[in-house]
Protein backbone atom coordinates (compact mmCIF):
# COMPACT_ATOMS: atom_id res chain seq x y z
CA UNK A 1 0.00 0.00 0.00
CA UNK A 2 1.42 3.47 -0.88
CA UNK A 3 2.45 5.43 2.23
CA UNK A 4 0.02 8.22 1.43
CA UNK A 5 -2.93 5.79 1.78
CA UNK A 6 -1.88 4.26 5.09
CA UNK A 7 -3.80 6.77 7.23
CA UNK A 8 -6.94 5.62 5.46
CA UNK A 9 -6.49 1.97 6.45
CA UNK A 10 -8.13 2.15 9.92
CA UNK A 11 -11.11 3.95 8.43
CA UNK A 12 -11.47 1.38 5.67
CA UNK A 13 -11.39 -1.42 8.24
CA UNK A 14 -13.96 0.38 10.37
CA UNK A 15 -16.22 0.90 7.33
CA UNK A 16 -15.92 -2.80 6.43
CA UNK A 17 -16.78 -3.81 10.00
CA UNK A 18 -19.89 -1.65 9.95
CA UNK A 19 -21.24 -3.14 6.70
CA UNK A 20 -24.41 -5.17 7.26
CA UNK A 21 -23.90 -8.94 7.36
CA UNK A 22 -24.44 -10.61 4.03
CA UNK A 23 -26.72 -13.65 3.89
CA UNK A 24 -24.68 -16.80 3.52
CA UNK A 25 -25.25 -18.96 0.47
CA UNK A 26 -27.01 -22.22 1.21
CA UNK A 27 -23.86 -24.31 1.39
CA UNK A 28 -21.66 -21.94 3.37
CA UNK A 29 -22.35 -23.24 6.85
CA UNK A 30 -20.43 -24.88 9.63
CA UNK A 31 -20.08 -28.60 10.25
CA UNK A 32 -22.91 -30.24 12.17
CA UNK A 33 -22.25 -31.71 15.61
CA UNK A 34 -25.46 -33.49 16.63
CA UNK A 35 -27.86 -35.65 14.67
CA UNK A 36 -31.31 -37.20 14.65
CA UNK A 37 -31.79 -40.34 12.59
CA UNK A 38 -34.77 -42.50 11.71
CA UNK A 39 -34.64 -45.55 9.48
CA UNK A 40 -36.58 -48.68 8.58
CA UNK A 41 -35.14 -51.94 9.87
CA UNK A 42 -35.72 -55.57 9.08
CA UNK A 43 -34.00 -58.76 10.18
CA UNK A 44 -33.17 -61.85 8.14
CA UNK A 45 -31.63 -65.15 9.21
CA UNK A 46 -28.14 -65.79 7.85
CA UNK A 47 -29.14 -69.35 6.86
CA UNK A 48 -32.40 -70.27 5.18
CA UNK A 49 -32.90 -73.22 7.53
CA UNK A 50 -32.56 -71.05 10.64
CA UNK A 51 -35.63 -69.68 12.38
CA UNK A 52 -36.55 -66.02 12.22
CA UNK A 53 -34.12 -64.35 14.66
CA UNK A 54 -36.43 -61.77 16.29
CA UNK A 55 -40.16 -61.22 16.76
CA UNK A 56 -41.50 -60.71 13.20
CA UNK A 57 -42.89 -57.33 12.17
CA UNK A 58 -41.96 -53.83 11.09
CA UNK A 59 -39.05 -52.30 12.99
CA UNK A 60 -37.69 -48.76 12.95
CA UNK A 61 -34.45 -47.36 14.27
CA UNK A 62 -34.33 -43.92 15.87
CA UNK A 63 -31.15 -42.43 17.21
CA UNK A 64 -29.38 -39.42 18.62
CA UNK A 65 -25.82 -38.96 17.47
CA UNK A 66 -22.81 -36.86 18.33
CA UNK A 67 -20.17 -36.04 15.75
CA UNK A 68 -17.12 -34.74 17.59
CA UNK A 69 -14.92 -34.51 14.49
CA UNK A 70 -15.21 -34.72 10.76
CA UNK A 71 -15.36 -38.55 10.65
CA UNK A 72 -16.34 -40.03 14.01
CA UNK A 73 -20.01 -40.57 14.91
CA UNK A 74 -21.31 -41.88 18.24
CA UNK A 75 -24.98 -42.79 18.48
CA UNK A 76 -27.51 -43.82 21.09
CA UNK A 77 -30.42 -45.54 19.40
CA UNK A 78 -33.47 -47.71 19.81
CA UNK A 79 -34.85 -50.32 17.41
CA UNK A 80 -38.49 -50.86 18.40
CA UNK A 81 -41.05 -53.18 16.85
CA UNK A 82 -43.80 -50.91 15.47
CA UNK A 83 -46.25 -53.38 13.95
CA UNK A 84 -48.10 -55.61 14.86
CA UNK A 85 -47.60 -54.95 18.60
CA UNK A 86 -45.81 -51.65 19.15
CA UNK A 87 -42.83 -51.84 21.53
CA UNK A 88 -43.49 -55.48 22.45
CA UNK A 89 -39.85 -55.91 21.41
CA UNK A 90 -37.19 -53.22 21.31
CA UNK A 91 -33.43 -53.07 21.28
CA UNK A 92 -31.62 -50.16 22.86
CA UNK A 93 -28.07 -49.66 21.75
CA UNK A 94 -24.94 -47.67 21.34
CA UNK A 95 -22.81 -47.45 18.23
CA UNK A 96 -19.45 -46.00 17.29
CA UNK A 97 -18.68 -45.48 13.67
CA UNK A 98 -16.84 -43.44 11.13
CA UNK A 99 -17.48 -41.68 7.85
CA UNK A 100 -15.12 -42.90 5.16
CA UNK A 101 -14.66 -39.44 3.65
CA UNK A 102 -14.25 -36.31 5.75
CA UNK A 103 -17.46 -34.30 6.07
CA UNK A 104 -16.72 -30.95 4.44
CA UNK A 105 -18.37 -28.10 2.58
CA UNK A 106 -18.23 -29.72 -0.86
CA UNK A 107 -19.33 -33.19 0.27
CA UNK A 108 -22.14 -35.05 -1.39
CA UNK A 109 -21.43 -38.80 -1.32
CA UNK A 110 -20.09 -40.81 1.58
CA UNK A 111 -20.01 -44.23 3.24
CA UNK A 112 -20.28 -45.09 6.91
CA UNK A 113 -19.32 -48.10 8.99
CA UNK A 114 -20.01 -48.72 12.67
CA UNK A 115 -19.97 -51.26 15.47
CA UNK A 116 -22.86 -51.41 17.91
CA UNK A 117 -24.10 -53.12 21.03
CA UNK A 118 -27.83 -53.71 21.52
CA UNK A 119 -29.82 -54.81 24.55
CA UNK A 120 -33.31 -56.29 24.14
CA UNK A 121 -36.26 -55.86 26.49
CA UNK A 122 -35.66 -59.27 28.05
CA UNK A 123 -31.93 -58.86 28.36
CA UNK A 124 -30.93 -60.28 24.99
CA UNK A 125 -27.52 -58.91 24.03
CA UNK A 126 -26.50 -58.39 20.42
CA UNK A 127 -23.37 -57.16 18.71
CA UNK A 128 -23.51 -55.74 15.20
CA UNK A 129 -21.17 -54.51 12.51
CA UNK A 130 -22.89 -52.27 9.98
CA UNK A 131 -21.91 -50.82 6.63
CA UNK A 132 -23.90 -48.14 4.85
CA UNK A 133 -22.57 -47.98 1.28
CA UNK A 134 -24.62 -44.98 0.11
CA UNK A 135 -24.84 -41.79 2.15
CA UNK A 136 -26.09 -38.78 0.20
CA UNK A 137 -26.35 -35.27 1.55
CA UNK A 138 -25.38 -31.65 1.06
CA UNK A 139 -22.47 -29.55 2.35
CA UNK A 140 -21.29 -30.83 5.73
CA UNK A 141 -24.21 -33.28 5.70
CA UNK A 142 -26.76 -31.25 7.60
CA UNK A 143 -29.14 -33.65 5.92
CA UNK A 144 -28.30 -37.17 4.75
CA UNK A 145 -30.02 -40.12 3.16
CA UNK A 146 -28.60 -43.44 4.32
CA UNK A 147 -29.49 -46.13 1.80
CA UNK A 148 -29.15 -49.92 1.77
CA UNK A 149 -27.25 -50.35 5.02
CA UNK A 150 -26.44 -53.93 6.02
CA UNK A 151 -25.39 -55.16 9.44
CA UNK A 152 -24.15 -58.56 10.52
CA UNK A 153 -25.55 -59.27 13.98
CA UNK A 154 -24.04 -61.72 16.47
CA UNK A 155 -26.04 -63.14 19.36
CA UNK A 156 -23.34 -64.49 21.72
CA UNK A 157 -25.77 -66.36 24.01
CA UNK A 158 -27.46 -68.30 21.21
CA UNK A 159 -24.28 -68.38 19.12
CA UNK A 160 -26.25 -67.27 16.08
CA UNK A 161 -25.59 -64.85 13.25
CA UNK A 162 -28.22 -62.94 11.32
CA UNK A 163 -28.64 -59.87 9.13
CA UNK A 164 -30.11 -56.50 9.92
CA UNK A 165 -31.13 -54.56 6.82
CA UNK A 166 -31.88 -50.86 6.61
CA UNK A 167 -33.53 -49.90 3.34
CA UNK A 168 -33.62 -46.17 3.90
CA UNK A 169 -32.68 -43.79 6.69
CA UNK A 170 -33.10 -40.06 7.06
CA UNK A 171 -30.72 -37.99 9.21
CA UNK A 172 -30.82 -34.36 10.24
CA UNK A 173 -27.63 -32.93 11.74
CA UNK A 174 -27.41 -29.67 13.68
Amino acid sequence: MPPCLRPLLPWLLLAAALLPAQPLPAGDISPARFGLTISSNTFQPAERSAGYPVAPGLYARAGLSWLPGSRLELELFQVPLLVPEPFSEAFTGFSAGCWLFRRKHDSYFNLTADLSFMLGLEGRKLLAARLCPIVLGGPYYHYADHLLAVALVWDPEQASLFWQLQLVGLSLYF
Partner: protein, 177 residues
Protein backbone atom coordinates in the same frame (compact mmCIF):
# COMPACT_ATOMS: atom_id res chain seq x y z
CA UNK B 1 -7.91 -40.94 -8.32
CA UNK B 2 -9.32 -44.30 -9.39
CA UNK B 3 -11.91 -44.16 -6.60
CA UNK B 4 -12.86 -40.66 -7.69
CA UNK B 5 -13.34 -41.89 -11.26
CA UNK B 6 -15.59 -44.66 -10.01
CA UNK B 7 -17.64 -42.31 -7.86
CA UNK B 8 -17.99 -39.60 -10.50
CA UNK B 9 -20.94 -41.19 -12.36
CA UNK B 10 -22.82 -41.54 -9.08
CA UNK B 11 -22.14 -37.92 -8.14
CA UNK B 12 -23.24 -36.70 -11.56
CA UNK B 13 -26.36 -38.79 -11.28
CA UNK B 14 -27.26 -37.42 -7.85
CA UNK B 15 -25.94 -33.87 -7.79
CA UNK B 16 -28.32 -31.62 -9.78
CA UNK B 17 -30.66 -29.86 -7.38
CA UNK B 18 -34.27 -30.34 -8.38
CA UNK B 19 -36.64 -27.46 -8.89
CA UNK B 20 -39.55 -27.28 -6.52
CA UNK B 21 -42.67 -28.88 -7.85
CA UNK B 22 -45.56 -26.49 -7.90
CA UNK B 23 -43.78 -23.64 -9.66
CA UNK B 24 -43.56 -25.38 -13.01
CA UNK B 25 -45.05 -28.86 -12.37
CA UNK B 26 -43.62 -30.68 -15.37
CA UNK B 27 -44.52 -34.11 -13.97
CA UNK B 28 -47.66 -36.18 -13.89
CA UNK B 29 -46.61 -39.56 -12.50
CA UNK B 30 -43.92 -41.99 -11.50
CA UNK B 31 -43.16 -44.86 -9.18
CA UNK B 32 -43.31 -45.31 -5.44
CA UNK B 33 -41.57 -47.59 -2.98
CA UNK B 34 -42.59 -47.95 0.63
CA UNK B 35 -41.78 -49.87 3.78
CA UNK B 36 -44.86 -50.79 5.80
CA UNK B 37 -46.53 -53.29 8.13
CA UNK B 38 -50.00 -54.35 9.26
CA UNK B 39 -51.50 -55.41 12.53
CA UNK B 40 -54.13 -57.85 11.38
CA UNK B 41 -53.03 -61.46 11.47
CA UNK B 42 -56.21 -62.68 9.76
CA UNK B 43 -55.25 -60.84 6.57
CA UNK B 44 -51.45 -60.80 6.54
CA UNK B 45 -49.12 -62.52 9.01
CA UNK B 46 -46.84 -60.22 11.03
CA UNK B 47 -44.01 -59.06 8.82
CA UNK B 48 -42.27 -56.03 7.46
CA UNK B 49 -43.63 -55.43 3.98
CA UNK B 50 -42.24 -53.77 0.90
CA UNK B 51 -44.60 -52.18 -1.56
CA UNK B 52 -43.86 -50.76 -5.01
CA UNK B 53 -45.94 -49.49 -7.87
CA UNK B 54 -46.94 -46.60 -10.10
CA UNK B 55 -48.83 -43.42 -9.34
CA UNK B 56 -50.47 -40.76 -11.47
CA UNK B 57 -51.05 -37.17 -10.38
CA UNK B 58 -52.56 -35.62 -13.52
CA UNK B 59 -53.74 -32.32 -12.09
CA UNK B 60 -51.82 -29.46 -10.52
CA UNK B 61 -54.39 -28.12 -8.11
CA UNK B 62 -53.05 -25.95 -5.28
CA UNK B 63 -55.30 -27.76 -2.81
CA UNK B 64 -57.23 -31.01 -2.95
CA UNK B 65 -54.94 -32.40 -5.62
CA UNK B 66 -55.79 -36.06 -6.37
CA UNK B 67 -53.47 -38.92 -7.31
CA UNK B 68 -54.16 -42.57 -8.04
CA UNK B 69 -51.76 -45.41 -7.36
CA UNK B 70 -51.49 -49.15 -7.89
CA UNK B 71 -48.80 -51.61 -6.99
CA UNK B 72 -47.91 -54.82 -5.26
CA UNK B 73 -47.07 -55.50 -1.64
CA UNK B 74 -44.90 -58.34 -0.39
CA UNK B 75 -44.05 -59.38 3.16
CA UNK B 76 -40.23 -59.43 3.09
CA UNK B 77 -39.18 -59.97 6.71
CA UNK B 78 -39.90 -62.80 7.07
CA UNK B 79 -40.31 -63.34 3.34
CA UNK B 80 -43.66 -64.84 2.36
CA UNK B 81 -43.99 -64.80 -1.42
CA UNK B 82 -47.34 -66.64 -1.23
CA UNK B 83 -48.89 -63.55 0.41
CA UNK B 84 -48.39 -61.26 -2.59
CA UNK B 85 -51.00 -58.52 -2.35
CA UNK B 86 -52.37 -55.90 -4.73
CA UNK B 87 -52.43 -52.36 -3.39
CA UNK B 88 -54.39 -49.58 -5.12
CA UNK B 89 -56.15 -46.39 -4.17
CA UNK B 90 -56.52 -42.65 -4.24
CA UNK B 91 -54.49 -40.04 -2.37
CA UNK B 92 -55.61 -36.46 -1.94
CA UNK B 93 -52.97 -33.80 -1.25
CA UNK B 94 -54.70 -31.34 1.06
CA UNK B 95 -52.42 -28.37 0.32
CA UNK B 96 -48.83 -27.44 -0.53
CA UNK B 97 -47.16 -25.10 1.95
CA UNK B 98 -43.70 -23.69 1.33
CA UNK B 99 -41.04 -24.40 3.95
CA UNK B 100 -38.32 -21.84 3.17
CA UNK B 101 -36.70 -22.24 6.59
CA UNK B 102 -35.69 -25.79 5.64
CA UNK B 103 -33.79 -24.66 2.54
CA UNK B 104 -30.45 -24.41 4.35
CA UNK B 105 -30.80 -27.94 5.70
CA UNK B 106 -32.06 -29.79 2.64
CA UNK B 107 -30.62 -27.59 -0.18
CA UNK B 108 -33.86 -27.94 -2.13
CA UNK B 109 -37.15 -26.09 -1.96
CA UNK B 110 -39.48 -28.22 0.13
CA UNK B 111 -43.23 -28.11 0.50
CA UNK B 112 -45.28 -29.63 3.26
CA UNK B 113 -47.98 -31.64 1.45
CA UNK B 114 -50.13 -33.53 3.94
CA UNK B 115 -52.52 -36.01 2.36
CA UNK B 116 -55.37 -38.35 3.11
CA UNK B 117 -56.15 -41.46 1.13
CA UNK B 118 -58.38 -44.45 0.60
CA UNK B 119 -57.52 -47.72 -1.06
CA UNK B 120 -57.75 -51.47 -1.08
CA UNK B 121 -55.54 -54.43 -0.38
CA UNK B 122 -56.36 -57.63 -2.24
CA UNK B 123 -54.53 -60.89 -1.63
CA UNK B 124 -53.70 -62.29 -5.07
CA UNK B 125 -54.35 -65.83 -3.83
CA UNK B 126 -57.95 -64.74 -3.17
CA UNK B 127 -57.58 -65.05 0.59
CA UNK B 128 -58.93 -61.62 1.48
CA UNK B 129 -59.79 -58.04 0.68
CA UNK B 130 -59.42 -55.03 2.91
CA UNK B 131 -60.21 -51.37 2.42
CA UNK B 132 -57.84 -48.79 3.83
CA UNK B 133 -58.12 -45.22 5.08
CA UNK B 134 -54.81 -43.42 5.44
CA UNK B 135 -53.48 -40.12 6.75
CA UNK B 136 -50.06 -38.75 5.82
CA UNK B 137 -49.28 -35.72 7.98
CA UNK B 138 -45.48 -35.95 7.51
CA UNK B 139 -45.29 -35.65 3.73
CA UNK B 140 -42.71 -33.47 1.96
CA UNK B 141 -42.62 -32.60 -1.71
CA UNK B 142 -39.08 -31.94 -2.91
CA UNK B 143 -38.53 -31.23 -6.58
CA UNK B 144 -39.36 -34.37 -8.49
CA UNK B 145 -40.15 -36.53 -5.47
CA UNK B 146 -42.49 -36.86 -2.51
CA UNK B 147 -41.24 -38.32 0.77
CA UNK B 148 -43.64 -39.58 3.42
CA UNK B 149 -42.86 -40.65 6.95
CA UNK B 150 -45.04 -42.53 9.46
CA UNK B 151 -48.46 -42.70 7.80
CA UNK B 152 -51.04 -44.64 9.80
CA UNK B 153 -53.71 -46.67 8.02
CA UNK B 154 -57.02 -48.11 9.16
CA UNK B 155 -58.05 -51.49 7.73
CA UNK B 156 -61.74 -52.11 7.10
CA UNK B 157 -63.47 -55.27 5.97
CA UNK B 158 -66.18 -55.47 3.29
CA UNK B 159 -68.85 -54.54 5.82
CA UNK B 160 -66.84 -51.40 6.72
CA UNK B 161 -65.97 -52.84 10.10
CA UNK B 162 -62.59 -52.00 11.56
CA UNK B 163 -60.28 -55.00 11.32
CA UNK B 164 -56.88 -53.61 12.19
CA UNK B 165 -54.35 -50.99 11.35
CA UNK B 166 -51.12 -50.50 9.51
CA UNK B 167 -48.21 -48.13 9.26
CA UNK B 168 -46.22 -46.89 6.29
CA UNK B 169 -42.88 -46.04 7.84
CA UNK B 170 -41.23 -44.58 4.71
CA UNK B 171 -42.54 -43.89 1.26
CA UNK B 172 -40.57 -42.38 -1.59
CA UNK B 173 -42.53 -41.40 -4.69
CA UNK B 174 -40.34 -40.39 -7.61
CA UNK B 175 -41.80 -38.57 -10.60
CA UNK B 176 -40.66 -40.12 -13.86
CA UNK B 177 -43.05 -38.84 -16.51
Amino acid sequence: MRAAALLLPLLLWAAPPARCLGEARPWSGGLFVESCGFAEAAFLPPAACLSAGLFLEPLALPAGNPAVFAGILLPVAPCQAENLTLRAGLALTLFDARLPWLLRTFYAALRWSPAIGAGLLYRLDGAGLRFTLAASPLRLRAGDAIFTLCSPELLLDQQAGTRGWGLVLFQAALFLF
